[in-house]
């Protein structure tokens, strides 16, 4: 059963003296309970807008159309009090910069215990248990610590503990390892994988890093310029990508590993993102695509079933 269902979601930002910006255009996707869906895209793809929309955190400058349902509760147009209720037992979020989730003037223990029920002693015990769960064994000392006394990796673990303390049905992780050092990133990625397995978390992972996707995701949704271009199981996406953009992203990575070849040049995706105010009429990727045809420039491809999942392309298929 799908825990999260996004249907025909469009988000347009309108600012004073600026043309409206179409950040998301007709996006539909589902996340089943217990699965990890990676939302992949570059800056300007709309991936963070989608995460914020699902969390009910979009600001009022955005006009939102379509539906978002989390465990049967509608998010779009819901009253702020209803959203607050949902956040407590429904959706939690961790961000790229863990400091943004931590209050610098409160001790770690108080911040974790804040949203929990029960007596002070019970909440403290629960907070200390959560610190163990996120791999911070020295809980007694850490409960008394201030956020600035922790390293980046520890802060992200604490942010995770706070999120888990809300017993969320859906955890949204927005670039959770991007700001961390490589060796710390490796630790947090494994922690997320363990949590997901042990607690049966449903995880919406927002990232630009295909390495992070390979490590954690069950399924992948690729966003480009506000539209979903491909949705597939993670193995299928990496082995037989159907959309030229997905193929380009995978090919643009420098190879790495003991047997990886040394390439003279990397495969580039030429050009850059199209303007989204207003977006081009046809396929958003048309101007950068090697397979572009006249039809692509005029007619927007819809998401359709493909051999490996869903793809929005007039000329899908293996890399030519």
């Amino acid at each position: 059963m799908s825990l999260l269902r996004v249907s025909n979601l469009s988000v347009v930002f309108t600012g004073r003296g600026r043309p409206p910006l179409v950040a998301l255009d007709d996006v539909s996707l589902t996340v089943a309970a217990g699965e990890t869906l990676a939302l992949v895209g570059e800056s300007g793809s709309g991936k963070s807008t989608l995460a914020l929309a699902i969390a009910g955190l979009l600001d009022t400058a955005a006009s939102v159309r379509g539906q978002i349902d989390v465990a049967g509760h509608g998010i779009v147009g819901a009253a702020p009090t209803a959203l607050q209720h949902l956040r407590r037992g429904g959706i939690a979020m961790v961000f790229q910069d863990p400091m943004s989730a931590l209050n610098p003037v409160h001790r770690i223990g108080d911040q974790i215990a804040e949203t929990m029920p029960g007596s002070r002693a019970e909440r403290r015990a629960a907070a200390s248990r959560l610190l163990h769960v996120v791999g911070l064994p020295d809980a007694e000392r850490l409960l008394e610590a201030w956020p600035h006394e922790l390293s980046g990796g520890m802060r992200q673990r604490v942010a995770l503990a706070i999120a888990l303390g809300q017993e969320p049905r859906l955890l949204i992780a927005d670039e959770p390892t991007t700001a961390l050092d490589v060796t710390i990133q490796a630790q947090i990625l494994r922690l997320l994988a363990d949590l997901q397995r042990d607690l049966g978390l449903t995880l919406l992972l927002v990232t630009h890093d295909l390495g992070v996707v390979a490590e954690l995701a069950d399924r992948v949704a690729v966003l480009y310029a506000g539209r979903l271009v491909e949705v597939a199981a993670v193995d299928a996406l990496f082995s037989t990508p159907q959309h030229p953009y997905t193929q380009g992203l995978l090919a643009a990575r420098p190879p790495f590993g003991p047997d990886a070849p040394m390439l003279p040049r990397l495969t580039e995706i030429p050009g850059g993102l199209p303007s989204l105010s207003p977006p081009p009429p046809g396929c958003r990727f048309a101007e950068r695509c090697a397979r572009v045809s006249q039809r692509c420039r005029e007619d927007m491809p819809e998401l359709r079933a493909s051999s490996a999942g869903l793809v929005a392309c007039h000329h899908p298929g293996a890399t030519p």
């Binding site: 490589v182 060796t183 630790q187 295909l210 390979a214 643009a252 990575r253 420098p254 040049r265 990397l266």
Partner: protein, 326 residues
């Protein structure tokens, strides 16, 4: 052959409110003409400080900096004017390194104007072309172009004076994947065509592997290993280099599933209070008793492959320790 850029046991400490940070501790590094040397390491390892020292943007506490055999450690700004055109820099965040109030054309013209070069307008046009930017962008402001285009402007500005060495501090870290490949290709083809030497500072080992002829790994202000590319990727000797390589996220889901636990537990030690002995021993999975109190010597494993690690002087212990751990 005289190296183009040579750092000789360079040391630098920063005074901070929390105390003295030993940012760079006795680092020696030589860059030959035409080669790309990568400096890799995690935050606080001193790689960016090292770049600033090499460019004489900040004075060294001890040690020497030589450019083309000439000691520039204490050269005056006036004396540096002759060196600066040959030693240039590309920054991580082009929008911070470009003046928001000056057009792209002015930004590329600035170094030419400062050094009184002739035919400046034509040079600016040629440089824009060389980095793959349309000439019409010259009248735009930095915020009016994309991140990839801004970084190309930063590269064009660094190339304006025909440098021999370019120090690039995380030049592609802020760019999106699809644009990153474009800029990496641009940098490697420019380096080849112009015979540039490059110091590439980065944390993304896949990018480093693609670009660098030689790799130097920094940990808490020291170079703990340096080796040419073939040797480094196949037989990195220092446990920290090995851990960095093993920490790179998997390329495919299958590779990810085949993986063990994270290569390193625990946190980076604070540069405010580096651990005694080997600065890596607190996280090292193979540390022995010696590592805790004695700082490791520089071991030469091959003519151009060096590492600082006690395990390399104790081959028997090394084998025992590693089998015991696995």
């Amino acid at each position: 052959m005289t190296p183009l850029l040579q750092l000789d046991t360079v040391t630098k400490a920063w005074r901070t409110p929390a105390g003295l940070v030993q940012a760079v501790r006795g680092v020696s590094l030589a860059v030959q003409a035409g080669e790309t040397v990568a400096l890799v390491g995690e935050s606080g390892c001193g790689k960016s400080t090292l770049a600033r020292l090499a460019l004489r943007l900040t004075p060294v506490d001890a040690g020497r900096i030589l450019f083309d055999g000439q000691d520039i450690t204490h050269a005056s700004e006036r004396a540096l004017t002759a060196i600066r055109p040959r030693l240039q820099m590309v920054f991580q965040d082009a929008s911070a390194a470009l003046n928001p109030r000056r057009t792209i054309g002015q930004a590329i013209d600035d170094p030419l104007r400062v050094h009184g070069r002739p035919n400046r307008a034509a040079r600016v046009q040629a440089l824009l072309g060389e980095v793959g930017l349309d000439a019409s962008l010259a009248s735009r402001f930095p915020h009016e172009v994309s991140g990839g285009q801004r970084q190309r402007v930063g590269i064009a500005r660094a190339l304006a004076l025909d440098p021999a060495v370019v120090i690039a501090d995380e030049p592609v870290s802020a760019l999106d994947v699809s644009v990153r490949a474009q800029v990496i290709n641009l940098m490697s083809s420019l380096a080849r065509q112009r015979g540039l030497a490059m110091v590439f500072i980065g944390h993304d080992l896949a990018v480093v592997r693609h670009l660098a002829d030689r790799i130097a790994v920094m940990h808490l202000g020291e170079i703990v290993e340096a080796a040419p590319r073939q040797r480094f990727w196949s037989q990195a000797a220092h446990p920290y280099s090995q851990a960095l390589i093993a920490s790179v996220p998997a390329a495919t889901p299958a590779a990810a599933r085949a993986r063990g636990p994270a290569p390193l537990a625990g946190d980076l030690p604070s540069p405010l209070a580096p651990p005694p002995g080997c600065s890596f021993h607190t996280r090292c999975p193979r540390a022995i008793a010696t590592c805790q109190h004695q700082s490791p010597p520089l071991i030469r494993l091959a003519p151009d492959h060096t590492a600082r690690c006690h395990l390399l002087t104790h081959p028997v212990l090394d084998a025992a320790a590693s089998t015991g751990h696995r």
